[in-house]
């Protein structure tokens, strides 16, 4: 993986990622008028750390504004049993879904690191629906790289990043990197 052509181009640094998460945390709170009846659900596996970072930031903001805050409800969802390309590629389930709260009547903010074709999000929305009927589902992603193949749009975006389909995008707390070549 470390041949010269694989060395990616860093387009966002750690501070940029941190600031993007802070801004998204503010936007989620503003749009939903607080954090009551709200749940952050990370899509396995890339969305899980983002949920943790967002929840920590939202808790900090709420605590500062309200002199104490309730914990942010978080969870994760594995969409691999709901994908539309089952049987067309190797199966690679992430960790097991962890949705221990009642989905019924809650506003679920689906969270992923990169938004691309929208197919994983579609699968994740179906997966959430099997746990109950949320009041609403919103979508947050640190990077929106375009190339949507379904009518899905994000509600909260860290950074719009025009890419070509021949590139792959990796997002970590240490930054956002674009690499030539698709990953599977």
């Amino acid at each position: 993986m470390n041949t010269p052509s694989d060395v990616g181009k860093q387009v966002l640094g750690p501070d940029d990622v941190r600031r993007a998460i802070t801004r998204m945390a503010h936007e989620i709170i503003e749009r939903n008028r607080g954090t009551a009846d709200l749940a952050l659900v990370g899509i396995q596996t890339g969305g899980v750390w983002v949920v943790e970072a967002l929840a920590a930031e939202m808790l900090r903001i709420e605590a500062a504004e309200n002199c104490g805050a309730n914990p942010i409800v978080v969870g994760s969802v594995d969409a691999s049993l709901y994908r539309d390309d089952i049987g067309m590629r190797p199966v690679s389930p992430g960790s097991v879904s962890d949705l221990t709260f009642t989905v019924e009547g809650v506003t679920v903010v689906l969270v992923d690191d990169v938004l691309y074709t929208g197919r994983t999000v579609r699968a994740a929305i179906d997966a959430i629906g099997d746990y109950g009927r949320p009041k609403a589902v919103q979508l947050a992603a640190i990077v929106d790289r375009g190339h949507r193949e379904l009518p899905i749009r994000p509600d909260f975006v860290g950074k719009n990043l025009p890419t070509s389909a021949e590139e792959s995008v990796s997002v970590t707390p240490n930054g956002v990197t674009i690499t030539q070549g698709t990953d599977t």
Binding site: I43, S80, L81, D126, Y131
Partner: protein, 319 residues
Amino acid sequence: MSRSLLSITELGETGLRRMLDTSDHMAEVNRRPNPKVPALRGKTVCNVFFEDSTRTRLSFETAAKRLSADTMNFSVSQSSLNKGESLRDTVETIAAMGVDAFVIRHGSSGAPWQIGEWTSISVINAGDGWHAHPTQALLDMYTVRTALNRPISVDGGSFDGLRVAMVGDIKHSRVARSTTEAFKLLGANVTWVSPKTLLPPVHDESVVANLDEVIEDVDVLYLLRMQNERMSEALVPHLREYTARFGLTPERAARIGRHVLVMHPGPMNRGVEMAVDPGELPGSVINQQVTNGINVRMAVLFELLGSGSENSLTGNTES
């Protein structure tokens, strides 16, 4: 991963660990109020059972349905095999109907391999003769892993130091063969507890000839079904004598530690190998074995039918 599951040997340690990981996903599905996912929509699974079975056939059928696959059941007694159709013609006829997987139980060892050579369809061995019963071994491993909370996955973890006693008719038991192999792949120490007449002619397991010798030194007590036919074949003098030396009697049940897992593949012969009420044993995981059977069979079906080759889908598959 291969498109068929024929034995633990062919699955290998990595495949076994992967199946356990995938079973966790299926267990989560089965804990939901509506335990059904759309993963295998459009796939058809055909159960072909040449031998009687309650739990394995129902377990596979339930597993397929919870993954939204369609199921077909073929039972020999109502088939054209009774009109003299050959096994090969029968298999090819069903295959021509557009089936994606055969789940096969057959009285002859090796039948699933033979059928696999006649067809390109996925074949899952649901028990062949005295030879192998890989999904039973998988559900046994999953049950022990869950009950003992051992973090076994493709990333590591093992049954190192776990002492397992398999008690009963080893020779005629495909369960004993597959489950012993799986336990050893994951690092457990297996002892066979069996009369000499019920041991396979060639083996390299440690053997004791009386349950009392090991009962205080085991972590897993695995009782095998003692079949009545073995008495008429004169391999055991009398079932009562078998119970006296190998059965889990109230007296022996009092000697096993509370942490000891008691397992049985079913169907159980109460009063023979199981001479106590298993519901009263603190370590009985016999019902969990049945429940976990659905989890691991869903994992097997999903891994075999839900998987494609590396290059069959072009492009990036991220979100």
